[in-house]
């Protein structure tokens, strides 16, 4: 088993630009990712950060193959998954899971928690489904009685925990977390981050953590890549990137973060 889980080489990805689409005819293609190259190691939390439209979510989606790269190569645990079809991807789907941004729209309102967590387990032929549901709930710090609750009977933070439980119950090799704390209050955000830190340590998770919030990235991630307009402008361990940013755009992002400190110099353009 190699230490490198993901190997991405010269990944390009284009999507149809619907704002330019004529009433009849096809929309022109717009290049979103312009040649990315990076690795993700096993047991590592990789932060992907950038402004809106930088391609950070698209990058994440290409990793879990919700989008197909136009060119380049994406290798997952030694397998080239760049252009795999649906059928070939299906057995791999268990191995990469997602935490979603909005827990309300990503949990089926008609199913209780047990049904929500059990559905993918059954689909992938796990045994002892009930036991695994209980274990997943325990891991995210919710009492077992929650298995009978429905999404509307829980708070935002609790729903976010259910989404996390559903993903980790699958024992995945990689989890994509796309802006998972941006819809939460500061106190809930702090709780979910504490939980994630514990899970990363206990379960040795490999995480792709997409966020626009550099403070959250610094707290949770081992490495970070900063994206701007479909390119990686800076990549490295979090401490050096934050303490001595090399790229002008990274510095601009850092300077724009409002710290809870009235003395922060915020007047530099």
């Amino acid at each position: 088993m190699s230490d490198i889980l993901y190997q991405v080489q010269d990944m390009h990805l284009s999507l149809p630009d619907r704002t330019k689409k004529r009433v009849f005819g096809t929309a022109p293609m717009l290049e979103i990712l312009k040649g990315l190259r990076f690795d993700i190691h096993r047991g590592e939390v990789m932060g992907i950060v950038g402004g809106s439209g930088s391609g950070k979510s698209t990058t994440g989606r290409a990793l879990v193959r919700l989008l197909e790269p136009t060119s380049g190569r994406v290798t997952f645990d030694g397998t080239d998954i760049t252009h795999l079809g649906d059928a070939a991807l299906r057995p791999l789907r268990r191995r990469f899971q997602m935490f979603f941004q909005d827990p309300l729209s990503s949990l089926n309102p008609r199913h209780n928690v047990r049904g929500i967590i059990a559905a993918p387990l059954k689909l992938h032929g796990f045994d002892n489904v009930d036991g695994r549901v209980g274990q997943a709930l325990e891991q995210v710090g919710l009492p077992d009685s929650f298995r009978h609750r429905f999404p509307h009977e829980m708070s935002g933070g609790q729903r976010q925990r259910i989404g996390i439980a559903r993903a980790i119950a699958m024992e995945p090799d990689f989890i994509l977390a796309d802006e998972i704390v941006s819809g939460l209050d500061v106190s809930n955000q702090a709780q979910i981050l504490t939980l994630l830190e514990r899970l990363v340590a206990d379960l040795n998770l490999t995480l792709g953590f997409v966020s626009h919030d550099l403070s959250v990235i610094r707290r949770l991630c081992d490495r970070v890549m900063v994206m701007q307009e479909g390119r990686i402008v800076e990549m490295g361990d979090v401490s050096p990137v934050f303490d001595t940013p090399q790229d002008a755009y990274t510095r601009e992002l850092l300077d724009a973060i409002p710290l809870p400190d009235p003395d922060q110099d915020w007047n530099v353009a």
Partner: protein
């Protein structure tokens, strides 16, 4: 002479049963910026909505008074109240996309209020709109007046709403999470713009946000809310130097701070929330809610 906006003992109920604001008192004077901070459900937006008279139908003001420029809004007839609020106060909303009408051009959306409500002539309103778009640093205002909201970026749309809020020179502006939907770099520019406009027009600004980082860049004083109760009101610098209430300290420790990854983003302790909830329950008993 009292402050331009003075709220006293404001209590707002849901379905005439459940209190959502529990005896809130605060004041903001012209030329000043006051922040309202709290988690979702704390009632910070409700205060703004009560002032602007745009509470949803299920909510009613049970007790207390809202004095705007010396007039008690609760004692006015609805029609008069709308006119008073319309002339003296305005809102900068959270989501610039839903606040703009998608099928109308930008120009008429700014001028309409001036023409329909304040009775300006069309050409005066037009001239004023151009002047305002220039003030909020929108390049080529004449062209922008002809565009539709979907053609503009989020930051651009928020600039337009800011221009439109200041259009009739209201002396009170309520900004309800005006930068939550924006990118950090855009947020920074918009916050600066809001302060610049407030300063130039000398308005009173009530600034609602859940982000203490944003608060430290925008206000002179602030109130911290929990379950519709004000827990602490303080001058901004004094608040960050030494927050008095335990909940304020918890909120500060929960606020992300990339310069201090281990000392920030700390969860609010169960002990603190328990005490807060007991205080709320005690208030409810005292005021006849069970």
């Amino acid at each position: 002479m009292s402050a331009y906006l003075a709220i006293d003992d404001l209590t707002v109920e849901l379905n005439r049963q459940v209190p959502l604001l529990r005896g809130v008192s605060l004041s903001v004077d012209v030329g000043k910026v006051h922040g309202l901070v709290g988690e979702s459900g704390a009632g910070k937006s409700l205060i703004g909505k009560s002032v602007l008279g745009i509470l949803p139908d299920a909510l009613t003001v049970k007790r207390g008074s809202i004095l705007l420029d010396g007039q008690d809004l609760q004692t006015l007839k609805p029609k008069i109240r709308r006119e008073v609020i319309g002339a003296k106060a305005a809102l900068i909303p959270q989501d610039p996309l839903t606040a703009l009408n998608p099928v109308r051009r930008i120009g008429p959306q700014i001028t309409r209020r001036l023409v329909d409500i304040l009775g300006w002539t069309k050409s005066d309103a037009q001239a004023r709109a151009l002047e305002l778009l220039d003030e909020v640093h929108i390049p080529d205002p004449e062209r922008i007046m002809q565009t539709y909201p979907h053609e503009l970026s989020g930051g651009m749309r928020q600039r337009i709403l800011i221009a439109s809020a200041f259009a009739a020179e209201p002396k009170l502006i309520v900004a309800d999470e005006p930068t939550t939907a924006l990118d950090v770099t855009v947020q920074k520019r918009i916050l600066k713009l809001i302060r610049e406009m407030q300063d130039r027009h000398g308005s009173a600004l009530l600034f609602v946000t859940h982000d203490l980082g944003v608060i430290s860049k925008t206000v002179q004083s602030l109130s911290v809310l929990y379950s519709g109760r004000i827990k602490e009101t303080a001058e901004m610098r004094a608040f960050f130097a030494s927050p008095q209430h335990p909940y304020s300290r918890s909120l500060l420790a929960a606020t992300p701070k990339y310069t201090d990854p281990q000392g920030s983003l700390l969860p609010v302790s169960a002990e603190v929330t328990q005490t807060l909830d007991q205080e709320v329950a005690a208030w409810d008993r005292e005021h006849g809610y069970v």
